[in-house]
């Protein structure tokens, strides 16, 4: 495990939410070592998501741009048929 990840993981897996999550998974039949590792990973990902602006939700503008590319390609196809 890398340094910063290790520190963050120790910090986050101490929370009551973590212990509840791990317990629930173990009761479900997941092995404790897998449940603990899953919990560690989720804590890091949750933290990353809050900090990383590129991982935020798509804006309406971004979605419109994405759909616009498809519309453009469809128009190109239609143009090919007309020509």
């Amino acid at each position: 495990m890398s340094g910063p990840d290790s520190k963050r993981a120790r910090h986050s897996t101490d929370s009551p939410r973590s212990s509840g999550f791990t317990t629930a998974l173990v009761e479900e039949g997941v092995s404790p070592v897998v449940a603990t590792e899953l919990d560690r990973r989720l804590s890091i990902i949750e933290e990353d998501e809050l900090q990383d602006t590129t991982a935020h939700a798509w804006s309406g503008r971004q979605l419109a741009g994405y759909v616009g590319v498809t519309v453009g390609l469809c128009l190109l196809g239609i143009l090919l048929v007309i020509l």
Partner: protein
């Protein structure tokens, strides 16, 4: 404690630690762990190559050839552009966005839309049958390439659907299983060689094709078996290509979670698949129109000669095997994810072997696989477009692009994504309604269509209807249930404060 006891305890701890490491390693490779930012290592270019390797598999040539049944070269290219653009647009949005953002495999992200058991139903029906169909086709194509190579080497006339094709197909399946059993690293290594090689091979084929025919002949060539209505021909060709674009859905989310950023996931998936598919399909379309057969295993040796032709065919056969490994890897991951603890003790090798039973049987019916190809793509497309519509409505509209990973992994023990019996009937009903609507607009088996099909095709309206049905049913069935994680306590949905699913549903 005596020195002996201390040594014994230390040894026991070491053994336990080694066992834990093995368990974690297995889970990491074949299991459910979401990937950390540091583990998402694919750049945009890496992912582009992965998609190129998938897209230029020989199925693309058959798609081009099938398009030639309905339309000529110019209209065929237009139908491919429009169809793939529409299909890829909502397939990429439905599969890559959430998976990349959370580093999680796409079937885990679908638990909100279908429930834990509902995802299992989708995976064990639509996804499994779709991927078995594609694997069967790839095996048959590898078998045909093998048959052609053996025929050339031994100067024998072997039938296009003869027993050597079956034997070649079975050998391809055995090889694919061997590669798969070595894990994703081996698959990745093969893809790094195969992808650029396939790009070169496709260019070589195009050169042979153009040098053996003429451009004017190509543009003047009539479609091979069209309907009387030219608009209907074009729209069926478009619809078929939408189905091809959507057919990447079962594997794309699992692959895109390996990418480092959203940009590295979305555009390489869209543009990579679009460009690579278009080039390979154009070769298939051109060869079908001018030579009467889209399958390069038929015309490559006569045009390329015994050395280049055979070399290309050997490469094609091998490319089919690696493509098979890639799609089966993602499918088996999905099966493991959605089966809960049910298949946890079944080994990876056993599961992959079990998957190949149906494709192995289908290699005994190679002609059937080729002749029913369009029906297979369209019917699976009917289901997949509806699944995409439902997934898009769930993630972008209902959940407002916010998922709680802990709740997703807790499944039935959580609050947000748990449903009575583990099934979100709103999601499954939306898929059924969307699929039936598609088949009403365009029935790929009877080839009956509604007049409106000539204007809007079937996939897009089916996806939109599935999305609307899902949103309405969620409003009706679960109106008191929160749909997004609470913002004021991002780390507060512990299992401690959950209640059984049945108690919450209104």
């Amino acid at each position: 404690m005596s020195a002996g006891e201390a040594t014994g305890e230390a040894a026991a701890n070491t053994t336990a630690s080694a066992a834990q490491k093995t368990e974690l390693s297995k889970e990491h490779t074949f299991g459910t762990f979401p990937l950390l930012k540091s583990e998402r290592v694919w750049s945009g270019w890496d992912f582009t190559w992965v998609n190129t390797a998938l897209a230029i598999a020989t199925w693309a040539f058959i798609v081009g050839g099938s398009t030639a049944l309905l339309v000529g070269f110019q209209d065929g290219i237009a139908a491919m552009i429009i169809g793939n653009a529409i299909g890829l647009c909502f397939m990429v949005l439905a599969s890559t966005v959430a998976s990349q953002r959370y580093g999680s495999e796409q079937y885990t992200m679908l638990r909100g839309a279908f429930g834990v058991v509902g995802v299992g139903i989708i995976v064990f029906t639509v996804i499994l049958l779709t991927e078995m169909g594609w694997s069967s086709l790839l095996a048959v194509m590898a078998g045909r390439a093998t048959s052609q190579v053996i025929g050339t080497a031994a100067s024998l006339e072997l039938g296009q659907y003869g027993p050597v094709v079956t034997l070649g197909g079975l050998a391809a399946i055995a090889l694919a299983w061997y590669i798969l059993s070595r894990g994703p690293v081996t698959i990745g290594k093969f893809n790094k060689i195969i992808a650029p090689g396939l790009a070169v091979v496709t260019v070589v084929m195009m050169v042979f094709l153009v040098s053996n025919t003429s451009v004017s002949e190509l543009f003047a060539a009539a479609p091979l078996a069209p309907f009387d209505d030219s608009t209907l021909n074009f729209m069926v060709a478009v619809e078929f290509n939408v189905g091809v674009g959507v057919s990447w859905y079962p594997v794309m989310g699992s692959l895109s979670r390996m990418t480092a950023t959203r940009k590295a996931a979305v555009w390489p998936a869209y543009v990579g698949l679009f460009v690579a598919t278009l080039i390979a399909q154009a070769v298939g379309l051109a060869s079908a129109l001018t030579l009467g057969d889209s399958d390069p295993t038929v015309w490559m040796v006569p045009f390329g000669g015994p050395i280049i032709g055979v070399a290309v065919l050997v490469f094609i056969a091998f490319a089919n095997i690696t493509s098979m490994s890639s799609i089966v890897y993602s499918t088996i991951l999905a099966i493991r994810q959605s089966s809960g603890r049910l298949l946890a003790k079944v080994s990876w090798k056993a599961m992959t072997a079990a998957f190949f039973v149906v494709p192995a049987i289908m290699t005994f019916f190679p002609q059937f696989m080729y002749e029913q190809f369009m029906v297979f793509v369209s019917v699976s497309g009917a289901f997949l477009t509806s699944i995409c519509g439902t997934a898009l409505a769930d993630y972008f509209i209902l959940r407002k692009q916010r998922m709680d990973l802990r709740e997703l992994h807790l499944g039935q023990r959580g609050t947000l994504y748990s449903y009575a019996g583990g099934v979100n009937w709103a999601g499954l009903a939306a898929v059924v309604v969307g699929t039936l609507f598609y088949l009403w607009l365009y029935n790929p088996i009877s080839l009956e269509t509604q007049p409106v099909f000539n204007l809007v095709t079937a996939s897009l309206p089916a996806a939109i209807l599935a999305a609307v049905v899902y949103l309405v049913l969620m409003k009706v069935l679960y109106r008191q249930r929160p749909m997004t994680p609470a913002t004021h306590k991002p780390a507060a949905h512990a299992a401690a404060d959950v209640t059984p699913a049945t108690a919450k549903d209104s």
